[in-house]
Symmetry: C2
Subunit: 321 residues, 2 copies
């Protein structure tokens, strides 16, 4: 059986151009460009909680980096370097080869260099720590929202949740392709995040579900929100085969989406429309931030009183559907 | 049951003075000082492989950071920031509270700020990614050794291995206290690593066992080594209750030690003696680097021919004693 050292060398050593010293010593060495802040995030995927035992290693390699890229995108940071800590039940070379292919597909696509890692034995889990750069003072936090800001989401939130329900036989989708792709190979909104510097005032990614993550944004910005049910982008979910109720549920509390939720002043609408065209990525205006801290309401657009939105997002320690 | 978010907030949020934005947003933000390279390392501890199911959470909290500090020390870097990815079987508040105490004991001792993390459900494992600073160009890699350099080790390698054997009832130590402390609460040689900048030419930590890690140093420096069996610091191991054969085995292939192995020119002997006094940490000269790449020999000091040293260090995927 090849040793840990052999496997690491064979599958995880790639030329690193922006790193002074990468995999192979006690620590990696690199330089942050002058005037830049370092943005750092870490996320773990574990078998049974985040993916099934028979998940494709290639998809997992992609996703374990993509979910971290999504966090950096949500700060408006540009990804640069990553470390990878793999817990593997055995030194299965085929699995490792496929996983590294998916990982480096994603790393190459977004200009990330793998600078270090660790491989240990145990039930399958992978932790990526990802480092990006952002011009000092320009990161987009969760705390910068202003009352009256528009609320926007990128892309097609809810698709990944539909994909999961389809896999679990809890729903039969007429066309599961897009939903499964969103689940297995999420596309982190890196270019959008970078482009939103100077435009978005508060931002996060909605990996835990729109309702829960909107609550986080409101809490950090000390504001409330009013969502317009009629503005929610349900069309792609309905096209996949969900009815309207399921589509709304998937979008609001589904999770695992890796889209961006951000606030921006109403004056930015034209700029955002142009940016969406340029990025070929829809931005949908779904409501506003309000001055009523903690009040998150959903207006049905039919004249009924707005009702409080159940803000229970995905929580790894709470039972969830 | 408290949620993931509650637990993270309660036990892992501490004031961060050298961080622009710490735990609580999508990513942490911090600045690397001008003229500094960032040094980054990551290490995972998993239940069953690195510790027993009933291990003290307080000790684990200390050790999970300490083993990473040891890697930065081995570069001569100064530790600054860390992220912590915890995989927990359940949201056991008592366990988390004790773990965080041990973690922050160690973080406080070495000036490390926790800037981010992730908590997921699964079989117990913890991954720390640790960031340090080192003046650009001054890091001590594994590759800088020169033929004729003295080889030195810090402290008391082998004690942790004896402690593990004692716990496994494979040996009965007369005095297991120091050995168990070395196993459970290893002291990373951070100050020594920093002080060795400009003195040591090649360095690593011997977490995988002296023999195996010496082989790594020789491979990276493209050199060989001649160890002097009579110079190995066996006394503390014999004092703990090991016979000479066991002491030598524990020291050479034991692992889990977190001492520094480094090379330095013979002219540095006086400086190193003074430094050891100042740090109150023994440096033991155990041999020399040689120009014969790949040849790692052990001389017994009794006139017999030097014999090749079995370089099998600890390998997580190889069977080991």
């Amino acid at each position: 059986m090849p040793s840990e050292f052999d496997l690491i060398r064979r599958y995880f050593t790639r030329p690193a151009r922006h790193t002074d010293l990468a995999v192979g010593d006690d620590a990696a060495l690199f330089r942050v460009a002058p005037g830049m802040q370092l943005a750092v995030t870490t996320d773990t995927l574990t078998v049974g909680t985040h993916f099934f035992h028979d998940a494709s290693p290639r998809d997992l390699g992609w996703k374990t980096l993509a979910v971290n890229l999504s966090d950096l995108a949500a700060m408006g940071a540009s990804p640069r370097w990553a470390t990878l800590a793999l817990i593997l039940p055995a030194a299965d070379e085929g699995w490792i080869a496929a996983f590294s292919e998916g990982f480096f597909d994603c790393a190459g696509r977004y200009g990330v260099e793998l600078v270090g890692g660790d491989t240990t034995r145990g039930p399958l889990a992978m932790t990526v720590t990802l480092f990006g750069e952002v011009p000092a003072g320009q990161a987009i936090t969760r705390a910068g929202g202003q009352p009256g800001d528009d609320l926007w989401i990128s892309g097609w939130p809810g698709l990944a949740a539909l994909g999961l329900m389809h896999l679990q036989n809890r729903v039969q989708l007429a066309d599961a392709g897009q939903a499964l792709a969103a689940l297995h190979r999420p596309v982190p909104r890196v270019e959008a995040g970078e482009a939103l510097r100077g435009i978005a005032r508060a931002m996060l990614d909605i990996s835990d579900g729109l309702a829960g993550d909107l609550a986080h944004l409101c809490e950090c910005s000390k504001l409330g929100a009013m969502l317009d049910a009629g503005a929610l982008p349900l069309a792609p979910l309905i096209a996949a085969g969900a009815d309207e109720s399921l589509a709304r549920h998937a979008l609001l509390v589904g999770g695992d989406d890796y889209e961006l939720l951000f606030s921006a002043p109403p004056e930015a609408r034209d700029v955002l429309a142009a940016l969406a065209l340029k990025l070929d990525l829809p931005f949908t205006r779904i409501g506003q931030l309000t001055g009523e801290a903690g009040s998150i309401l959903l207006a049905d657009g039919q004249g009924a009183s707005p009702r409080p939105l159940d803000a229970r997002g995905y929580d790894h320690f709470a039972p969830h559907a």
